[in-house]
Symmetry: C2
Subunit: 242 residues, 2 copies
DNA sequence: GCATCGATTTCGTCT
DNA sequence: AGACGAAGTCGATGC
């Protein structure tokens, strides 16, 4: 990150010229972008094929590959971090190959035409700071347990059960065990199923005479989720992250 | 998508020059990319702040915004399709603002330095064709129901229950109701919870004397998922998408 | 518009 | 490496 960051660009380069730039950029750990008409083939956990069209391709120094069309937030094709990228010229085409193992996956991008190629030297020392997450909601409850209900006492977070870890584990004013499942946003049936699994597991694990309550804490619930809560004898408390 | 796709680029432009290019590109429905040192602020469903660093920014004609660092497949910040993008100059900075309503969300990218700016005219007539999905697994079972078990007869797909839609609904050789939940890959406790919700719901809905079996079809299960299946009296059949 | 669920989910954390 | 659950998840479908 400098006032004059190192940038190398080519407009409508010949395949050989583009290959040289991409090869050098990958070698020195730069970020590469390509734009042009290409086809994309993927094989791995699934398989896909994409006919000729204009796309924007990004190769990151960590081994990520992204193929973006003009629509959508998600790339139309991609490869996760840790892949090996290589570039070759096949006839008049520039071919990008991105591969990895465990699982075996391969992404091939064949540019019939490269309209633009660029290499960027990237320096990014900063970490993203996010608020409004489930972790923030948990802290809020640990600071003010009464928000769950008067007399609630947290005893542990991430307490392990045979069905997984409970977000907040505690007891109510009457000494009954309380399992709290937190969600940062409006919840559906899946969250009720999750809470129910934990309550079930603890009822099995703890002594038979121990009463176990399950409380779902979230900003709101859907109708179906509320129905499922009622059927399972579980409770809901409306609360959002700070 | 032409042999000479329209591409406009600037290296180390002045803020005003970059603003003009970005503004014109947005107006004509082109894809915009920017690279340089910037800060990013987000407020909406959550909130985040990102200090100064080199990033690659993409603005798509459908209103998507993406901010990528040198690491990770996911953008460090973003805005989904449907947002309004605007560009202004504030002092020496180029500021990109991306906004939407329902929910109210705002992303502000302030470039201290623009190392590169580009506008791409995109034409992409092709649709992605994917195989190896859950839908492919479903088709496989409908074609050859014996893969679930000899004598299995599918009666409906996406059959509605009070707990959600069942992937494949049918009956076994003895006439018992069978609920099949499909997963394209190895499954954990969540899938068992899902299947259990459907089975529970149907046992309530159907007459008391009707026996309901639940079968999870996936390539494999985790130990915990297998344990939960056993506790709930549910079954597992190993099968992968074609 | 909301609800539900799949996804080549990705990502972080912990075992 | 695998398991488990969160995510500003996104995206597709149905109501």
């Amino acid at each position: 990150m400098t006032a004059e960051s190192a940038v190398e660009t080519l407009s409508h380069p010949a395949p050989d010229t583009a290959r040289d730039l991409v090869e050098r950029a990958i070698d020195r750990g730069a970020m590469v972008t390509l734009f042009g008409a290409c086809t994309v083939e993927y094989q791995g956990r699934a398989a896909s094929s994409l006919g000729l069209g204009d796309r924007h391709v990004t190769l990151k120094p960590d081994g990520t590959a992204l193929v973006h069309t003009d629509e959508g937030q998600q790339p139309v094709n991609w490869q996760p971090p840790g892949c090996d990228h290589s570039v070759t010229v096949a006839g008049a085409s520039l071919v990008i190959l991105s591969e990895r193992t465990t699982p075996d996956e391969e992404l091939e991008i064949a540019f019939e035409t490269v309209a633009h190629a660029a290499a960027f030297d990237v320096s990014d020392p900063e970490e993203l700071a996010v608020t409004g997450t489930e972790a923030d909601l948990k802290e809020r409850i640990l600071e003010t347990p009464d928000l769950v209900e008067p007399g609630f006492t947290p005893l542990a977070t991430e307490r392990e059960t045979p069905a997984g870890a409970v977000d907040v584990y505690g007891e109510d004013a009457a000494g009954r065990t309380v399992v709290v499942e937190l969600k940062r946003r409006r919840v559906g049936p899946d969250a009720v199923g999750q809470l129910n699994r934990y309550v079930d597991a603890l009822r099995r694990d703890l002594h038979a005479e121990t009463e176990v309550r399950g409380v779902l804490v979230a900003p709101s619930v859907t109708d179906r989720a509320r129905q499922l809560l009622a059927e399972k004898g579980l409770e809901f408390v409306s609360l959002a992250p700070p």
